[in-house]
């Protein structure tokens, strides 16, 4: 007789009393899915800071973060496709969406957001595209000409309209980005059988961690991209991004802290198993990596005076690792507590691919998937350059002067 392993049996180790059908069903893909959508939302919010709130010092990263957000957005569905046992059936989401299900709205939310981001990119780059379409010959010229969508109007009036539209799109994009990720939080927060997930705070917790990861992702990628090109990086820009990071870090710490304190204080039936999870089994991942290294240490590093480029880079890297660990702790940790409240399930990711299933569930596809947005960004950068010196040293100095003046007035 042919042996069939249960889906999940390969990577789940059970202890104590767990139900016979209980396995870790949501694995590494579902860890990466909220991580990527979080980066999308955070990067977009950062680009809107310039367009909507007129933070001039963020001008050098406004285009970059928008295109980066798009590159990430393109990859946001792929972890889900890897996760489905019937990926080819995913078209059913569009054919027969069942809107009582939180997941069913995904197509709508995703495509709406995609439309906003694409439109904003087009309007932001329109003058550049037209300029290139007129200049470039051959294949590149053809691409640029196609990208103009037949509009070659660069009159002052047209540009002013563009500017207005960009502001509107960026403004509409903020709630859309917040919704995209808050909605991912809702998908988890509404699973009533998993005590670690079931909290109305979940959408907000996810949103805050999304923004910090997105901003941190932009800091890291921008510094890397500019350094590789040997371009000048304006310190005022990086410091301004770090300021955003600090504010949202504080919000994330407060929200995630309240969540744990609340669980501990109300100490419901599940608290004994949850405290074992948080303070013993996941203590290193959760307390050391997620909290100390991922949130508290970068907050201290960013708040210390005379922030250097290197310190900003390290802090942002720490935040990126911390948020990834947070996604892991939430997704895997939530399922680690048996729904019988009498046992634990340990997730052992299959490292060596021995079959199609272990390959898909292993580290190779997911690593490729996490690197893809960077590759996409590299390709997009060839057509729509984002790693350019928007500010030269003089502009940068001028902006810094303005900022310190403002600070001076404020004090």
């Amino acid at each position: 007789m042919e042996e069939h392993l249960a889906h999940g049996a390969l990577w789940t180790i059970k202890e104590g009393f767990t139900y016979p059908n209980e396995y870790i069903y949501w694995t590494i893909h579902i860890v990466v899915y909220p991580y990527i959508t979080g980066l999308v939302a955070g990067a977009f919010v950062l680009s809107s800071m310039y367009h909507v709130f007129g933070k001039t010092e963020l001008k050098p990263v406004a285009k970059f973060s928008l295109v980066f957000s798009f590159a990430l957005l393109l990859m946001a569905t792929s972890p889900l496709m890897l996760h489905l046992t019937h990926p080819l059936n995913s078209i059913n989401m569009i054919l027969t969406p069942h809107f009582y299900s939180a997941i069913a709205a995904f197509t709508v939310v995703y495509l709406t957001y995609m439309a906003i981001v694409l439109a904003e990119i087009w309007f932001v780059f329109r003058p550049f595209i037209i300029e290139q379409a007129k200049e470039k010959k051959g294949l590149l010229g053809l691409i640029y000409n196609a990208m103009t969508l037949g509009s070659y109007d660069v009159s002052e009036k047209a540009l002013e309209t563009d500017h207005k539209i960009v502001r509107i799109l960026a403004a509409v994009g903020i709630p859309a980005a917040a919704f995209l990720h808050g909605y991912v939080g809702f998908i988890f927060g509404s699973v009533k059988t998993v005590p670690l997930w079931k909290t109305p705070l979940m959408p907000f917790i996810f949103l805050m961690s999304a923004i910090i990861s997105g901003v941190a992702g932009c800091v890291v990628t921008y510094i890397l991209g500019m350094s590789l090109k040997g371009n000048f990086i304006c310190g005022a820009t990086i410091r301004s991004m770090c300021k955003v990071l600090v504010w949202f870090l504080v919000a994330a710490i407060v929200l995630e802290g309240i969540d744990i304190v609340f669980h501990a204080y109300t100490a419901e039936e599940f608290w004994s198993i949850m405290s074992e999870l948080l303070f013993q089994r996941f203590a290193f991942k959760m307390l050391v990596v997620q909290w100390l290294l991922g949130m508290i240490l970068p907050l201290i590093l960013l708040l210390l005076p005379r922030l250097s480029m290197l310190r900003a880079f390290i802090s942002a890297m720490l935040v990126l690792i911390g948020v990834f660990t947070m996604r892991w702790d939430v997704v895997i940790g939530g399922q680690s507590m048996s729904k019988s409240l009498g046992g634990f399930l340990t997730y052992n990711m299959p490292i060596i691919p021995r079959s199609m299933e272990t390959f898909l569930e292993g580290p190779i596809p997911i690593t490729g998937l996490l690197l893809m947005p960077l590759l996409l960004l590299f390709i997009f950068n060839k057509v729509l350059p984002v790693f350019t010196e928007v500010f030269n040293e003089e502009d940068c100095g001028f902006t810094e002067g303005l900022l310190s003046k403002k600070d001076h007035v404020n004090h």
Binding site: H4, L5, Y25, T85, L95, K192, S340, G342
Partner: protein, 258 residues
């Protein structure tokens, strides 16, 4: 023709109102509503199940029968029905297990792999589990494509060809009644042997039980033994706090049952 803004709004409003009327007719004429005109609600069928835990001896024949009947690979550790063993010791410790869903039966004194001195045992019993065919099934609520649905007579089924395999239903079932079928790779669960009960037969697990611990029947049928038990005896359900309104009723549950 020129159209003022006021006229456009007026005509638009009328068009929307006009469209709503025929659409609302569809709402009135749902198949269920039409059927209820002919057949009053009290006669509506509703399958339910009774498990008498006081009669279960943990032989596991029901699990075996279910696996064979529903073609769930026998050696795979997923099952549509299973039996749990509860042993409470005199010092208050509770040992619970269900090795391989008890498809080989409980044949040894080894709860959770430990041999327990019989003198230390305060009480022990078995609890068979299966899908609760909830009145408000969270699995049906969360299925993004509508691949899982509740039939008119109350049984929750899965369309294995439409399932996308996201596992949202599995994570949302408080009873862990769901799993991925290792052959179809779709979500799977107990159907109360829908293919049998709709032909007047019993479920496979019920036929396999030599002790009468399992009973299927119609809730609204005064002639059924099940309806009589539920209406006259003290029965309870598992995890009512989730609000799913489970329709598997238990005799002899204990507070240590998870």
């Amino acid at each position: 023709m020129s159209l003022s803004r006021r006229e456009l709004l007026k005509m638009g409003f009328l068009a929307v109102c006009g469209a709503v009327i025929p659409l609302s007719a569809l709402q009135i004429l749902t198949p269920e509503a039409a059927a209820s005109l002919i057949r009053p609600y009290s006669e509506k069928k509703r399958w339910a199940f009774v498990v008498d835990t006081t009669k279960c001896v943990g032989c596991g024949m029901c699990v075996k029968a279910c696996k064979l009947e529903n073609e769930i690979p026998f050696n795979t550790d997923v099952q549509r029905t299973w039996v749990e063993r509860y042993v409470q010791l005199k010092d208050g410790d509770v040992l619970i297990d269900s090795p391989q869903g008890a498809r080989h039966g409980f044949t040894k004194n080894d709860p959770q792999g430990k041999e327990v001195n019989e003198a230390e045992i305060a009480k022990g019993f078995f609890v068979p589990k299966l899908c609760n065919q909830c009145e408000k099934p969270s699995c049906v609520q969360v299925c993004p494509v509508g691949a899982t649905y509740k039939t008119d007579d109350g049984v929750v089924l899965v369309d294995k060809n439409w399932c996308i395999g996201c596992g949202y239903c599995i994570n949302n079932c408080p009873y862990l009644a769901r799993f991925f079928n290792p052959i179809t790779n779709s979500a799977d669960k107990c159907t109360f042997c829908y293919h049998r009960i709709t032909k007047g037969m019993n479920t496979a697990c019920m036929d396999a039980c030599a002790f009468g611990a399992r009973k299927i029947g119609m809730l609204n049928d005064p002639a059924s033994e099940l309806a009589k038990i539920i209406s006259t005896e003290r029965v309870s359900v598992l995890k009512p706090e989730y609000g799913n309104e489970p329709q598997v009723f238990y005799i002899g549950l204990d507070s240590i049952v998870r």
